[in-house]
Every structure is written in structure tokens, then in C-alpha cells.
């Protein structure tokens, strides 16, 4: 930089020009980086939203079939017991009511936040 033939002022000007160029490039780089980061963030948010939708949908599938499954199980048990004990139709009525309760109970269990999953699960009882 300190070439003997050059005069001091010209050198300074050149330095300043280089500095300005460096700043411009830096701001351009950070701008591009910010843009990429924003895009990545947006994509992440989109993916999270998609996963959330999937989770919600799977929860909905679970709840509907849990409700129907409870009712079906109750009706089935009542019907079989009625036929076996020839007490028709009382056990069918009783067990279909119990089955409906069980169905709603299933849905409530599915809707309440999991309390004993994974590592913080209760230790097996002795």
C-alpha cells in the first residue's frame, strides 16, 4: 500500500473508497443473510403449522373413533349378555348407557394433556 511513487492524499482516498466498498458489501451480505434467515424461518413456521394440522387431525380421528368404539363395545357386551342370560332388553339398555359413558370418558382422556408418558412415566407398581 505504501508504494513510494504514490502521494499521501491519493492513498487516503483509495483507502476510503475501499472502506466504503467493504461496508457496502457487508450490508449486502447481511441483507441477503437476513433474507435467507427470514425465508428459513417462514418455511419452518409453515412446516410447524403443517405438523400441527396433522397432529390435530390425528387427534380428531382418534376422538371420533374412541367415542364410537365405546358405544359399540357397550352395545355389543349388552347384547351378548342379554342373549346369554335371556334378560332382554335390560342389559342392552344398561350397557349401551355405560358404553356411551365410556366413549365420552375416552374422549376426555384423549383431550386431557398426557401426564404419564415417556420418561416421566410412573414407575411400575410393585
Amino acid at each position: 500500500m505504501t508504494a513510494p511513487g504514490k502521494d499521501h492524499d491519493a492513498e487516503k482516498r483509495e483507502d476510503e473508497a475501499l472502506k466504503a466498498r467493504l461496508e457496502k458489501l457487508q450490508s449486502a451480505v447481511s441483507g441477503a443473510r437476513g433474507g435467507i434467515q427470514a425465508e428459513e424461518k417462514r418455511e419452518e413456521a409453515q412446516m410447524a403449522a403443517g405438523q400441527d394440522n396433522g397432529r390435530m387431525m390425528s387427534l380428531a380421528f382418534r376422538m371420533v373413533s374412541d367415542l364410537v368404539g365405546g358405544i359399540l363395545a357397550g352395545v355389543g357386551i349388552g347384547w351378548v349378555l342379554d342373549r346369554a342370560l335371556s334378560t332382554s332388553p335390560f342389559l342392552l339398555i344398561l350397557f349401551s348407557l355405560l358404553g356411551t359413558a365410556a366413549g365420552f370418558y375416552n374422549v376426555v382422556k384423549a383431550a386431557s394433556p398426557p401426564s404419564k408418558t415417556g420418561k416421566d412415566a410412573l414407575p411400575p407398581e410393585p
Binding site: R62, S65, G69, L98, Y105, N106, T117, K119, A121, E125
Partner: protein, 254 residues
Amino acid sequence: MAAEGGSAIDPIHQFNIVEYGAVDLFGRHFAFTNSALYMLLGVGLIALVMIYGSRSSALVPGRMQTLAEMAYQFVAGMVRSSAGEAGMKFFPMVFSLFMFILILNIIGLIPYTFTVTSHIIVTVCLALIVFLTVLVVGFAKNGLGFFNLFLPSGVPWWTLPLVVPIEIISFLSRPISHSVRLFANMLAGHITLKVFGGFVVMLLGAGGWAIISPLPFVFIVGLMALELLVAFLQAYVFAMLTCMYINDALHPGH
């Protein structure tokens, strides 16, 4: 619909079981059907992906290896998060169920193929495998302590005569809801696709109304995307609930 006749418009025709050959052994009729053929196809495809994918085990994975590793990590994460580290003993079962259902659901989406999981006998068998595993593991691990599953803690004692039957019915309803969910979703989705496909054909044959025949076609494209999501979600839900039931078998008592 049925009045139109023809297999192209009949939305139930796709679920017909066709026998390719049969043997009669011990007074039973053992048939090799299209259902069995697609099951074999699905198992073969899974085996191909997993064996080919784990063949090289390179540090920088290729396409197949990525696929196999993704499948493994997805299921392993699911088992760890909902059944704990102790549940990893059942990883092979959960992984097999998940891959089997996923592959068969997705194969069934290809036109002119057969959807094995749209038959309730198949899904009931899969659900009963899980149910019986839970029973056996539950009683083997906890003995009679497994009955704690029916005794929720923290309820007043005088409600127990009502709560215990409800808990028992809730437990017995698991294989029903487990199987009906998968079966009903696949059946309904495929019937819907066929019905809208039938609309396209009928509108094309209805003279001037043929102008609006692209409408149901566009709808089918959207439905197809939804069905792809449902095919994955149903496999996921089935495997997820399997993990949760296994967790119940390992740690009964609320």
C-alpha cells in the same frame, strides 16, 4: 349408481376379493387372493427398502439409506416419546405395523390397485395383535397388578361401582376403535374418490353437461392430496396408539 352397471361406475367394485388359487386343507378353504398378493407386495417393498437402505451404511447416506433412516428415526422417536425407553423392546412390532399399514395405504392410492386396509378383517387382526400383546405383556409384567388399570386413583370410593365398568368397557373398546378407525377412513376415502370419478364419466356422457365435467375432476385432485395425508396419518395414529397401549401395559394404574 348400480343402475348404470359396469365396474367403472360401481364404487364398491374396487373392494372385491378375487381368488387366484386355493387349497383345501383340514376341511378349510385356504385361498390366495388379491388381498394376499398386495400384502406380499407391500412386505416385499418394505424389505427391499430396508435391506437395500441398510446395505452400505455410509456416513453420507444415499437416497435409500436416508429413507430407511428416516423411517427408523420417526418410529423410534414415537416409541420413546409415548412408551418410554422401556417401550423400545416393542420397537420391532410397532415399526412392522407402521410400515405395513403405511405401505399398503399408499399402494392402495394408485389407481386400479387393491387396498388391503379397507377390509375390516385385516384391521381387526392387526388391532387384535396389539390388544393381545398388551394383555400378555400386562399380565406377565405386573401380574394381578394389571387390574390397577381399571382403578383410577383419586376418585371417591362410592363411585367405583360406576367407574370400574366404564373403565373396563373403555379398555374393551380399544381394539374396536383401533380397527374401525383405519378401516373406515380407507373405505370412505376410496369410495369418495370412485364416486367423484363416476361423476366425471357420467357428465361426459350427458351431452351438454360435459362442459362441467372438469369440476369433479379438479375435486378429485384435491381429494387425492387429502387421501395421501390420511394414508400417512392413519398409519401414524395406529402406531401411536399401539405405543400408548403398550405404555399402559408396562405402567398400569393412573
